[in-house]
């Protein structure tokens, strides 16, 4: 297929996943805001901005993190390239460009999300409840994903869409985990304290995985269990290993269809091999932050390889 088409498909899924993440972050924030404003919880909003990589942009535009401004910034603000509105608009625009590579159901799902977004933007904010907005995003993200899975031809375009999803999701899981561990708990004595547990629970909520976690592990929430769940557990839908395995699967299909192997397959295979053999203890020994930074760096390298080997148009 055209490299530009593949690039558009890959970015449709990255943007939709990113919109989903922005909404999940907002949900966490809204939950915390319902609790008595105990000391220490306020900075939660700041960590959410850190996790979405938009803290600098927000500070420049609004200064101190105030809930209402953060909601606007993460949901509606077009100046924020990672806001829900920016992501859905970009995903729909990418889809419009490659209409021929999508089924009408996928286009319909993306276009409907966009048309409804425009209505939301015209609605006075006082009439919009945050929890409903969050539900709205996750619902549309799921509809797009569902339309892709249910109706799209299993060709190379399908593989590029999935690689985009997994790459974005793995990267986001790593960032969210990193923010929680590193930004919020700089001093070691807090680890294992009540606050610590609360932060971890919040993290589970952000990933929509609170119940799943308890089903999988039971008992107390511990840092080791959380790390295992989000990094090494292949049952967890957002864990790093699930995302990397997903990329490997779709990269393998590509190399089979095209009859050639590129640098992307090699890099993804190396990432998977490490996750399959390492342990939580080894990760903590290295330092969780160090491990996650390394993972984020490797994801970026893989993203660049995707561009070089498939999407840039300079493929030979």
């Amino acid at each position: 297929m055209l490299s530009r088409t593949a690039d558009n498909l890959y970015w449709i899924s990255r943007y939709m996943e990113r919109a989903d993440i922005a909404a999940r972050l907002l949900e966490v924030g809204s939950r915390i805001s319902l609790l008595p404003s105990a000391h220490g919880y306020r900075s939660e909003w700041d960590s959410l901005l850190q996790a979405s990589g938009t803290a600098a942009g927000f500070a420049k535009k609004y200064g101190d993190p105030v809930q209402r401004n953060i909601e606007s910034y993460l949901f509606f603000d077009r100046d924020n390239p990672a806001s829900v509105a920016s992501c859905i608009t970009a995903a729909r625009e990418n889809a419009r460009i490659v209409r021929t590579a999508l089924t009408s159901q996928v286009w319909d799902a993306l276009n409907t999300a966009f048309q409804e977004l425009r209505q939301l933007e015209r609605t006075p904010r006082s009439e919009l409840e945050l929890s409903l907005m969050v539900d709205w995003v996750t619902r549309h993200a799921a509809m797009v994903r569902g339309a892709i899975d249910a109706t799209l031809l299993r060709n190379d375009g399908y593989n590029f869409l999935n690689i985009g999803y997994y790459l974005e999701r793995g990267d986001n899981t790593a960032r969210l985990l990193d923010v929680k561990y590193y930004v919020l708990l700089p001093s070691l004595e807090l680890v294992g304290s009540g606050l610590d547990n609360y932060q971890w629970t919040t993290l589970l909520r952000a990933m929509g995985a609170q119940r799943a976690f308890h089903w999988a592990y039971g008992g107390d929430v511990t840092a080791a269990k959380i790390a295992h769940f989000f990094i090494l557990n292949p049952q967890s839908p957002r864990s790093l290993i699930t995302c990397v395995a997903g990329m490997n699967n779709h990269l393998a299909r590509l190399s089979k269809a095209y009859g050639r192997v590129t640098g992307a397959q090699g890099r993804a295979a190396a990432m998977l091999a490490e996750l399959e053999t390492t342990t939580v203890e080894a990760i903590f020994d290295e330092g969780l932050h160090e491990f996650l930074s390394r993972f984020i760096g490797e994801s970026m390298v893989l993203g660049n390889l995707m561009h070089e080997c498939y999407l840039s148009g300079d493929v030979r």
């Binding site: 055209l2 490299s3 530009r4 593949a6 209409r99 021929t100 095209y258 498939y310 148009g313 493929v315």
Partner: protein
Amino acid sequence: MRTMPAELRQMKQAEAEDLFRRIGITFAVYGEGGDPDRLIPFDMFPRVFTAGEWSKLERGIKQRARALNAFLVDVYGRGEIIKAGRIPARLVYGNEAYEKAVVGFVPPKGVYSHIVGIDIVRTGAEDFFVLEDNCRTPSGVSYMLENREIMMRMFPDLFRENRIQPVDSYSERLRRTLASVAPAKCRHEPTIVLLTPGHFNSAYYEHSFLADLMGIELVEGQDLFVEGEYVWMRTTEGPKRVDVIYRRIDDAFLDPLCFNPSSMLGVPGLMDVYRSGGVSICSAPGAGVADDKAVYTFVPEMVRFYLGEEPLLQNVPTWQCAKADDCKYVLDNLGELVVKEVHGSGGYGMLVGPKSTKEQIELFRAKITEDPGNYIAQPTLALSTTPTFVAEGIAPRHVDLRPYCLVGEQIDLVPGGLTRVALKEGSLVVNSSQGGGVKDTWVLAE
């Protein structure tokens, strides 16, 4: 339809608009500008031709398309029609649309204009007039196809009761036409692409719609490059050779090395490959010289000269302001005439005398006096009307018709076309930018 209750009609109308928006047809007809997300009004009352009416039209349209192509091959070759004194040399060789870059080159099968859109109006039971020819990249065919889809979905009974000829084979026939003009060098099943200026173009929906129906790649200039004797597209598996380019961009943007050097839309080196027979371009560069409004006057001459036949479709009588006598007549009768710019399109830069104020008429008098060569004038025709749904119920409104004639190894015409309707009462301007809408066009079987 006349007996349909108002509520049901409104419901159906809303349903149609919703369908249009859902599938995303929100583009303006080429050259008319406007908001790309705007919906063109769709009128549910179809425009109907009998089999007899259509067969006469069909012969006339095909005849005209043949003559126009013969003219193009001639003027880029020996120029017999000019030597014979049947058309002034200045009108051809001095024409902005005359491409010196393709002089002496004969495109595969001798076809320059592969899709000829001929705008036709009717003034009486037997009287059809050609308003203008579109030899470059006539747009709007997606409306012909989608209007039909929507009508069939909404009024299946009408299709069961009437014998309406289908139009949905258009895309397959277009693909076949394009494949038939693949370069001689191409010895395999040709790879065809549709070249679009990009998704910001107002007709982008039509481009992607047609590419999808034909199962060909929709490419932009940046997706193509020239290497060796061929044009290649950039794919995820490496370069793939392209044999036929159905382009929906203007000549000036095709190749920055040959035409507009600041164009970002084109493919550097494309024209060299084209002239050496490595790729076919549809329509061929230079085709525009045949659909100029001043050259238009001579199309009946072309029919007689190249085909030795009498033209079946008439031209609207046209005064050329470039001629002193004509110009005097036009200036003396501005109140009764329609004045158009030679290179204008989309209903802009146009004066409809009987519908204009004194100030507008005087403005045009000044413009024509200043640059007479830039204007032509035609009488105001008593255009036929078709029943149309309006706010008050059903009322007559003026219409025109654009059929899409395909020219390749063979000449082919789908029974139908795009009917545009002037929705304003009394208006003669059907362009969507000026308050026009579209209708489904039915050709009945024998």
